[in-house]
């Protein structure tokens, strides 16, 4: 077995000889250079394998023929091997990335690089304090010198500041080390016992720890690091930010046992503060590399707090947390820094050029998702366990701060991502790149993608069906060159197979939602057959979303559920992002969704354990959830269902998504929040929470209904109108669930199913209209009834179902709804809902009137009926609607049975007749009577009148409207202006202003904090010294 000390020996020897070899030729010196780096990686890979799999004992390497503590010794254990495996890996690939530069650079750069890599290896392995100082300085000096690989003013001045700061910091470290030696008589980590130190000795330990700690860039003593990140060449900076940082982090880990607990805790909080504030400051960043710099220092802060706060955790958890965060940071950050070097755009606003190179864009996205700790990347698991651990240890504040920091980080990362994906005015400039630059990035991404499988399989034993959403995405991505329709058919087949696989696993409630998600999704999917072109990445995302929704139903335990919840969030966000002008709307959606997911994560962390061999949807109903858990989860579900207060993502996201996607979102995605609520409610029925929280949730639902309806009334854009209508309709469902009564739950499920049918129907009809007329503004349309009769009938049936007039199923749902509310005794709520229903007539009327009735616009003379692919799913929905309207027992009976599992039935179903305590409803009879009332006069009229004259468009008296008057003077424009006037101050968008305020304040706060970084080297030194003083004072207090 190769002794790791040969890494140091070989690097030193080659370092000295390289310039001689270079005289023979650069090819030779380069070969040797890369050979040594590969050798290092190879040695570490073997050691890692042996220590992990073969389970050999860690190796202690003594030097100079003496045993420690007389001599310096090195250690090669699993942790060292782990760190060095990744460090050497990045070092090798960064060197490959720098291949072209190294080919031209002076040979000294290669020598320095080798020495740097040697220093990192030594730094990690050595057990001697003074030796740590020496290796630290070797690493630092070679880094300083490598910064000048690009000799411009920026990199020089940044490097100089770095040297000043580094010089001061290492002086303090040395001072600390020397006094630690003075008090302990020893320099070897394994032989120093700081527990016996007096006060002066503690000061020495303090200095030494702070020396290392400040090298890890805590706020605000880190201005120098940011400048270096911004100014240095991408290849070198990836080494500084990743390889050096990892090694120094490990040094911190090594000296941790020496640090007294109160100081350690303080450092943990300092790390946390760094994470939160650097994420906040990152929000104001427009320079790509500096933004990554903020992210880097933030990640290091997070790592420190993770390692400090998990010292008591079981090994399994601490490895996953610290290792996960570390690997995530190493790989993702290095890859992103390399991409900045390929793109060569300083401003993130210019990153639209990435669109010229799709593979690079995808790699960029992948690394960004990893950095944001989204699943399935390592950071996701680390964060999950970290939050759970913190909550278990009663460190709630820390957990909340970690999540706030993460949210800010996601905000600035995805603002960047959106800018890269959606830059409208593409510049001419192309991306110049080479294989030696692309391959390292691709390789990193590959490694990042493999690690999750290892984690899922070996750490958690998660069923790999939960990777199905990602696999679907990847498979469709691979076959993306085949025509869109074939991919669509393949997707339908996949859904069918998946449904077939799922069916035996499901029962009751799960089955009901599976029908909504999978069958509903499948029907709406038909409409996407109308798409032209290749539709790259579309079907993959679609499948990912539907499969993750389906997986939610079979997820066991909190983690599997949350994993799929995040998959669902990611895929829906990416689907939204496909819309033409969806940059901002999808961003807002993502931020709200992630915030909701974090609330859910916290809620799960507070909840007691559930049995792991039962589906979460069932097991969670059997435990007593603490109040805080219910509140947090409810907030998460409220955000997802777009309830009042957190609804502001709804209209823009719906409106700007592609039209068939909107149908999908409204039809099925909006139900996932309901699923969550339903389960929470069932749990609360058998385990009453201390406070009647559901009463208030009920009110939120009721208010969402009325306010959503009012907002819908004043929209010109028909998709926004329908979006607000969805908000209003979902409000009904939330309110019904919140009643916690049998009838309420039945109503909720019935409404959910209905909502799928009529919203899917209307959105698809509207999609057809938009497809033909190329506009979403209702006042630009009119008279389309003659041109698009089937779409008209769809919308007509849809709005009859929405409004709840007989004979369609909407009437049944309203009957159930009011019965439930009156039974429960929520009279006021029921009155408000009734009023909301009346308001909904206004917007529904507006929809059908402005689009289909009235005068046909001149430019729509040649409009045709919507394409068959839009019509087909509409017909299916119409048939389904008519069927359940005529034979309501088809749906009421199973729903009654589902809810009967949880709570005793309060209704009697006899044939078509449903009897509650208040009365009865016979849907079949209602249908017959209404049809009779409709048909008899119709037939009579047809018989009696006989000859009718068809009136052409212009063969009328133009009462209030002229066909060619400007659209804005038409009644359809600003239709309900008078109601708006009546509403007065109530019509102002207060909630939107509130959230805008939140965003503005957050950004201003970030801007405030970054004023610390004045750019002056002396100020940075002052920060370092003051930082130590302040920390010491806090420690003394």
């Amino acid at each position: 077995m190769v002794n790791p000390i040969y890494i140091i020996i070989l690097s030193l020897i080659t370092g000295f000889l390289l310039s001689i070899f270079d005289k023979i030729g650069r090819k030779l010196s380069m070969t040797i250079f890369y050979g040594v780096l590969s050798f290092n990686l190879f040695v570490m890979a073997i050691w890692f394998y042996r220590l992990l799999v073969v389970d050999v004992t860690p190796l202690l390497i003594n030097t100079a023929g003496f045993v420690a503590p007389i001599s310096i010794n090195l250690r090669m254990g699993l942790q060292e091997a782990f760190i060095l495996l990744f460090s050497n890996f990045i070092a090798l690939f960064a060197a490959i990335y720098l291949f072209k530069k190294f080919k031209k650079a002076k040979i000294s750069s290669l020598v320095l690089y080798l020495i740097l890599s040697m220093g990192v290896n030594g730094l990690v392995m050595t057990r001697d304090l003074f030796n740590i100082f020496v290796f630290l300085e070797i690493v630092s000096i070679s880094t300083f010198a490598l910064i000048t690989l690009e000799k411009n003013l920026k990199s020089l001045s940044a490097g100089f500041k770095y040297m000043l700061a580094g010089g001061v910091v290492s002086t303090f470290f040395l001072l600390g080390v020397i006094f630690v030696y003075y008090f302990s008589g020893n320099l070897n980590l394994d032989f120093i016992n700081t527990g016996t130190f007096n006060n002066l000795g503690m000061i020495a330990v303090f200095m030494m720890s702070l020396g290392i700690f400040i090298e890890l860039k805590p706020f605000p003593a880190n201005g120098w690091a940011l400048d270096v990140y911004e100014a240095t060449d991408s290849g070198i900076v990836s080494v500084i930010a990743v390889v050096n940082s990892a090694a120094i982090f490990y040094v911190f880990y090594k000296i941790m046992p020496m640090i007294p607990n109160n100081l350690l805790q303080l450092l943990g909080y300092a790390g946390l503060l760094t994470f939160v504030l650097s994420s906040l400051m990152g929000l104001k960043q427009e320079n790509a590399k500096r933004l990554l710099g903020y992210s880097s220092i933030g990640q290091m802060g997070l790592l420190i707090s993770a390692v400090v706060f998990t010292t008591n955790a079981p090994e399994f958890i601490s490895i996953l947390i610290v290792g996960g965060f570390l690997v995530n940071h190493l790989l993702a950050k290095a890859g992103l820094f390399w991409i900045t070097g390929i793109v060569k755009k300083e401003k993130i606003a210019d990153w639209g050029v990435l669109n010229h190179s799709k593979p690079l864009l995808i790699l960029f996205g992948l690394l960004l998702f990893a950095l944001a700790s989204l699943p399935p990347f390592p950071g996701f698991w680390a964060k999950w366990e970290f939050i759970r651990w913190l909550i278990m240890e009663k460190m709630t504040v820390v957990a909340v701060l970690v999540l706030i920091g993460s949210l800010c980080e996601i905000a600035f990362l995805f603002r960047w991502f959106n800018l890269a994906v959606k830059k409208e005015d593409l510049q001419e400039s192309q991306i110049e790149t080479s294989h030696s630059m692309n391959l390292p990035v691709a390789f990193l991404a590959g490694v990042l993608a493999v690690i999750p499988v290892i984690i899922m399989k070996y750490f958690y034993q998660i069923d790999l069906i939960h990777l199905a959403p990602v696999i679907a995405l990847i498979v469709i991505f691979i076959i993306e060159i085949i025509p869109s329709k074939i991919k669509g058919i393949l997707s339908l087949i996949t859904l069918g197979t998946y449904g077939y696989y799922l069916y035996p696993l499901l029962s009751g409630l799960q089955l009901f939602f599976a029908v909504i998600f999978i069958i509903g999704g499948g029907i709406i999917l038909i409409s996407t057959f109308n798409r032209k072109g290749l539709n790259q990445n579309f079907y993959g995302l679609l499948l990912m979303m539907i499969l993750s929704l389906g997986n939610l139903l079979i997820a066991k335990g909190y983690l599997e559920f949350f994993l799929n919840w995040e998959f669902m969030t990611i895929s829906s966000y990416l689907l939204f992002l496909r819309g033409k002008n969806a940059r901002n709307s999808s961003f807002v959606y993502l931020i709200f969704s992630i915030a909701g997911a974090y609330l859910l994560m916290l809620g799960f962390a507070f909840a007691p354990a559930v049995s792991s061999d039962m589906v979460l949807l069932k097991s969670i109903t059997q435990i007593q959830l603490p109040l805080v858990s219910i509140i947090l989860m409810s907030l998460g579900f409220l955000i997802k269902s777009g309830s009042l207060g957190v609804h502001i993502w709804v209209p823009d996201a719906y409106a700007e998504a592609e039209d068939d996607v909107t149908a999908l979102i409204a039809g099925i995605l909006s139900k996932v929040g309901i699923l969550g609520f339903f389960v929470l409610a069932v749990s609360a029925i058998s385990h009453k929470p201390d406070i009647d929280i559901f009463y208030w949730i009920g009110w939120i639902g009721v208010l969402s209904t009325i306010i959503g309806a009012f907002l819908a009334v004043f929209q010109e854009d028909m998709k926004r109108l329908l979006a607000y209508s969805s908000m209003s309709q979902i409000g009904y469902i939330v309110a019904s669930v919140a009643m916690l009564s049998h009838l309420g739950l039945v109503t909720a499920l019935y409404l959910s199913f209905n909502h799928l049918l009529f919203k899917g129907l209307i959105f698809l009809a509207i999609a057809g209209v938009i497809y033909r007329t190329k506009t979403r503004n209702m006042y630009e349309m009119g008279g389309l009834i003659k041109k698009m009769p089937i779409s008209y009938i769809s919308v007509l049936i849809g709005i009859i179902a929405v409004s709840g007039v007989p004979p369609l199923s909407g009437f049944g749902s309203k009957w159930l709804l009011y019965s439930a509310f009156i039974e429960k005794g929520w009279y006021l709520q029921s009155g408000v809902l009734f009023f909301a229903s009346a308001v909904s007539f206004l917007y529904l009327y507006r929809l059908i009137h402005s689009v289909f009735l009235g005068q046909l616009k001149y430019e729509h003379q040649n409009v045709k009926e919507a394409p068959i692919w839009f019509i087909l799913p509409q017909l299916i929905f119409i048939i389904a609607l008519m069927t359940i309207s005529t034979f309501p027992n088809l749906i009421i009976q199973p729903l009654n049975a589902i809810v009967g599992n949880y709570i005793d039935s309060s209704i009697v179903i006899d044939g078509y007749k449903v009897t509650s305590s208040l009365g009865y409803w016979n849907g079949n009879q209602v249908m017959m009577v209404t049809m009779g009332v409709f048909m008899v006069p119709l037939l009579l009229l047809l018989l009696l009148i006989g000859k009718t004259q068809k009136v052409k468009q212009f063969n009328i008296v133009f009462a209030a409207e002229r066909p060619e008057s400007p659209q804005t003077t038409h009644v359809a424009h600003n239709m309900y202006a008078h109601y708006k006037k009546v509403l007065g101050g109530w019509g102002k968008p207060r909630i939107l202003s509130f959230w805008n305020g939140v965003a503005e304040w957050t950004h201003s706060l970030g801007n405030l904090f970054r004023q610390f970084y004045t750019g002056n080297g002396q100020t940075y030194i002052l920060h370092i010294i003051l930082y130590m003083v302040v920390l010491y004072i806090i420690l003394g207090v």
């Binding site: 000096i141 040297m163 002086t171 030696y181 003075y182 940011l226 004023q1011 750019g1015 030194i1021």
Partner: protein, 117 residues
């Protein structure tokens, strides 16, 4: 020896204050050098034990009683390394200043604040 220890700390503080207050890049580096010298002095002085001789085995020191006759040799060994490292850092700093001066013809640290926030 307590005197050299105090002197070392005085030099250390002097060096730091010079780094913080001088505007000229060269003077800042000189401050760094003074700080470095201070710490070297500190290192040497903590190894010193009164009334003992240099840690060299020769006629004056026999092997058996060496531990009670000589000063602690380790700090002296360490300081050599520290001096070399300090020298290297100073050299790199000065070479940076040369390059920076070539670009802007200025030695004032205030002229190198372009990167910030």
């Amino acid at each position: 020896m307590i005197f050299s220890l105090i002197l070392g700390f005085i030099l250390l503080i002097l060096g730091i204050s010079m780094m913080l207050t001088r505007n000229n890049l060269i003077k800042i580096v000189i401050g760094f050098s003074i700080m470095d010298t201070g710490i070297h002095l500190i290192i040497v002085s903590i190894g010193y034990i009164r009334n003992r001789t240099a840690p060299i085995i020769d006629a004056a020191v026999n092997i058996k009683d060496a531990t009670s006759q000589v000063v602690d040799p380790i700090p002296s060994a360490l300081v050599l390394t520290a001096i070399v490292i300090g020298l290297a850092v100073t050299a790199v700093m000065l070479s940076f200043i040369v390059e920076m001066y070539k670009k802007t013809k200025s030695l004032s640290i205030d002229d190198y604040q372009e990167l910030k926030w």
